[in-house]
C-alpha cells in the first residue's frame, strides 16, 4: 500500500518537452488511469514513476519519500509492458522467478511464492512453456505474475487491454480489477482508449500535450468534462454553442432549461453537451413538456444492442443513442427531449 505523488514534474528530452508540468496524487490502493492521445506524455509519466526516466524538474514521492533519484532497481515497482516484454529464452516458470532470483531470495521461498502466484494467475499447466507458445492473454498473465511475485509497492501497466481481442478483454479486465482489489496494490496504467480507462480505473488523469487536463472519476469525466477537448476525447458528439442566461441555454435548435441547482452556470457564452443516451426520442408531439427539440431522422446505425439515430434539428445534427428495442425509420419526424439535470454546460474558466 503506497501513496504516489507527482509534484511539479517536468520532463524534457533535449529541446523537446514531453511533460510541461504535472501534479498528481494517487491514493494508496487506488487504480488510476493516465489517459491521453498518443504522444501526450502519458507513457513518459509512467516511466518516470517506474524510474526508467528521471524527471528534469520536480519530485516523485512514494508515501511522502522522495524517490526521484532512486535507481529503478531499488524502487520496488512493478511494470507490465504493452507487449509484455517477457524473456523469450526462458520458460514461464523462469520468467516468473527472475525477479526473486536476481534479488537473491532463498530458493525454497522462491519455489513457494512461484506456486502461489501461478495459482493466482492460473498458469500452472503452462509453466514449462515458452512465451512464443502462449496466447496474448496468457502472456499478459505471465507478465503480471512476474511482476506481482516481487511484491511491488506500485503496479504499473502500459495499455493493459490494447493487444487483446474483445472477449479476452472483458476477462482480463475483470481479472485485473479483482486482483488489484484483493491485493490492494496501488496501480497506475496508461491508455489512449477512453473505454479502457473507464472500464478499469477508480480515477482517470487525462493528459493533453504534457499537461494534466482533468483528474476525476470516470463518471465525472464522461458526464462533466471541463473542456470541449476532454468531452471530445471521451467520445461526446453532441456539443453545441449556446448563450446562457438565467438558467436557460439558447441554442440554434431552441432553448434548453438547465438545472442550475445541481450544476451552477454563469451567464454568457458556453457549450452544451448532450449525451446521446440521455436524449429521449419521441414519435409524437406533446409527449414531453420540457426541452423539446423537433427534428427529422436522417440516418440510422445499428450496433446490435444499441442503435444510433442521426437527427437533423434546424440545421444542427444531434446523435441519439438508444437500446434497440424498436426501430425508427429514416425520414421520420421526431421530437427529442432531455432532462435539465442531464445537460452539461462547458464554460471557459472565469
Amino acid at each position: 500500500m503506497t501513496k504516489v505523488q507527482l509534484k511539479g514534474v517536468r520532463k524534457d528530452f533535449g529541446s523537446f518537452t514531453a511533460i510541461s508540468q504535472i501534479d498528481l496524487d494517487i491514493e494508496s490502493g487506488e487504480l488510476v488511469a493516465l489517459l491521453g492521445p498518443s504522444g501526450c506524455g502519458k507513457t513518459t509519466t509512467l516511466r518516470m514513476i517506474a524510474g526508467l526516466e528521471v524527471p528534469t524538474y520536480g519530485h516523485i514521492l512514494f508515501d511522502d519519500d522522495d524517490v526521484s533519484e532512486v535507481p529503478v532497481q531499488d524502487r520496488n515497482v512493478g511494470m507490465v509492458f504493452q507487449r509484455y516484454a517477457l524473456f523469450p529464452h526462458m520458460t514461464v516458470e523462469k520468467n516468473v522467478m527472475f525477479g526473486l532470483k536476481v534479488r537473491g531470495t532463498p530458493s525454497g521461498e522462491i519455489k513457494q511464492r512461484l506456486e502461489d502466484i501461478l495459482d493466482v494467475v492460473q498458469l500452472e499447466q503452462f509453466r514449462h512453456r515458452f512465451p512464443a507458445q502462449l496466447s496474448g492473454g496468457q502472456m499478459q498473465r505471465v507478465a503480471i505474475a512476474r511482476t506481482l511475485i516481487t511484491n511491488p509497492s506500485v503496479l504499473m501497466m502500459d495499455e493493459p487491454l490494447a493487444n487483446l481481442d474483445t472477449k479476452l478483454r472483458g476477462e482480463m479486465r475483470r481479472f485485473i480489477r479483482e486482483l488489484q482489489q484483493r491485493l490492494g496494490i496501488t496501480t497506475i496504467f496508461v491508455t489512449h482508449d477512453q473505454v479502457e480507462a473507464m472500464e478499469l480505473a477508480d480515477r482517470v488523469a487525462v493528459i493533453f500535450d504534457g499537461v494534466l487536463a482533468q483528474y476525476d472519476t470516470p463518471e465525472a469525466l464522461y458526464q462533466r468534462p471541463n473542456s470541449v477537448e476532454i468531452a471530445d476525447f471521451m467520445g461526446a458528439n453532441n456539443i453545441f454553442d449556446a448563450q446562457v442566461s438565467n438558467g436557460v441555454a439558447k441554442t440554434a435548435f431552441g432553448d434548453l432549461q438547465l438545472d442550475t441547482d445541481t450544476k451552477p452556470v454563469r451567464d454568457g457564452t458556453g457549450r452544451v453537451l448532450l449525451r446521446g443516451e440521455a436524449i429521449d426520442l419521441l414519435l409524437g408531439e406533446g409527449e414531453a413538456s420540457q426541452n423539446v427539440i423537433t427534428g427529422k431522422v436522417t440516418a440510422r446505425e445499428f450496433f446490435g444492442a444499441t442503435v444510433n439515430y442521426t437527427v437533423d434539428c434546424k440545421g444542427e445534427t444531434i446523435i441519439v443513442n438508444e437500446q434497440s428495442r424498436r426501430m425508427v425509420d429514416v425520414g421520420q419526424d421526431v421530437w427529442l427531449t432531455i432532462q435539465p439535470q442531464r445537460i452539461w454546460v462547458i464554460q471557459d474558466a472565469a
Binding site: 526508467l52 532497481q73 511494470m79 509492458f81 523469450p88 525477479g99 536476481v102 512476474r146
Partner: protein
Amino acid sequence: MWVQLMPVLAVLSVLFGGALVLAVMQSLGFAPWFGVNTFPDLSYFGALWGSWSFWQSLGLTLYYAIVSTGIALVMGILLALAMVRIFPGKSLYKYLYKLPLMIPYTVGIALAVIMLGNGGMISRIFAFVGLIGDPSEFPQILKTHYGWGIITVYVWKQTPFVTLTLYAVLLGVGRETEEAAAILGANKRQIFFGVTLPQILPGIVSSTLIIFAFNIGAFEAPFILGGGYPDTLPVVAWRYFNDADYTLQLQGMATVVSLALIASAILYSYLAFYRSFERRIGRN
C-alpha cells in the same frame, strides 16, 4: 522441379563443386597436366601430416584466428551495446565505426606497417616524447609469432562487422526486456548475462562463424605481418604453389584441403554445440 533448378544447380556445381572436386583430386595425386598421376595417393597428406612444422603452422593459424575472433567479439558486443544507447556524437560515430568495413585488408595491413612497425609512427612518437631513446627500441609488434600485427588488422577490420550484426540484432530485440529486468531488480551484470546475451546469441554465433572462417583462411595479413617460418597454413600453401618445383602444387593442395577439413570440423562442432545448447534451454 529438378529441370527448373538445372541452371542454378549447374552454376553451383561447376563453380563450387568443380573446384572442390579438383582440389581434392589434386591433393590425392591427380595432376596429369604436370605429368603426375598417382591417384589415389595419400602420400601428400602423409608427408604433410607427418611433419612437425604442419602442426606448428596449424597451431599458429588457429591461434591468430581464435584470438582475433575473441577480441573482435568482445569489442563488437561492447560497441553494439553502446550503439543502442544515446550518447553525444552518436550520429557521427555511427558512420565512423563502419569505416574499416570499406577499407580493403591490404590498406589495413599497410596502415599497420606504417603505424606499428619499428620506425613506424607510434614508435617515432614514443621516441619524440622521450619514452624511448630511439624508434628502433620500440617493442617489436609486427613479424613475430605472437602475431599482434595480424591480430590488430583482423580485429580492426572485423570489430565493425560484429558490431553491425549485433547492433541489428539488438535493435530487433529492443530495450523492453532489459527495462523489465531492471524494474524486477536486476543489476547491469545480471541484465547482460541473463537477458541480453541469450537474446543476441544467434547473432554472436553467426558473426563469429563468418569472421573465424575468414581468419582461418586469410593469407595477406600473416604473409606480410607474420613472423616467418613456421607460417600459417594459407601462407604455407601459397609457398608450395609459388615454388619453382611445380609438382609441389599437389602438396599445396593437400595443405588447402587439410585446412578446409579442419575449418569445417571446427565450424561444424561449434554450430552443433550451439544447437544442442539451444535445445537444452528448450528453444528449437
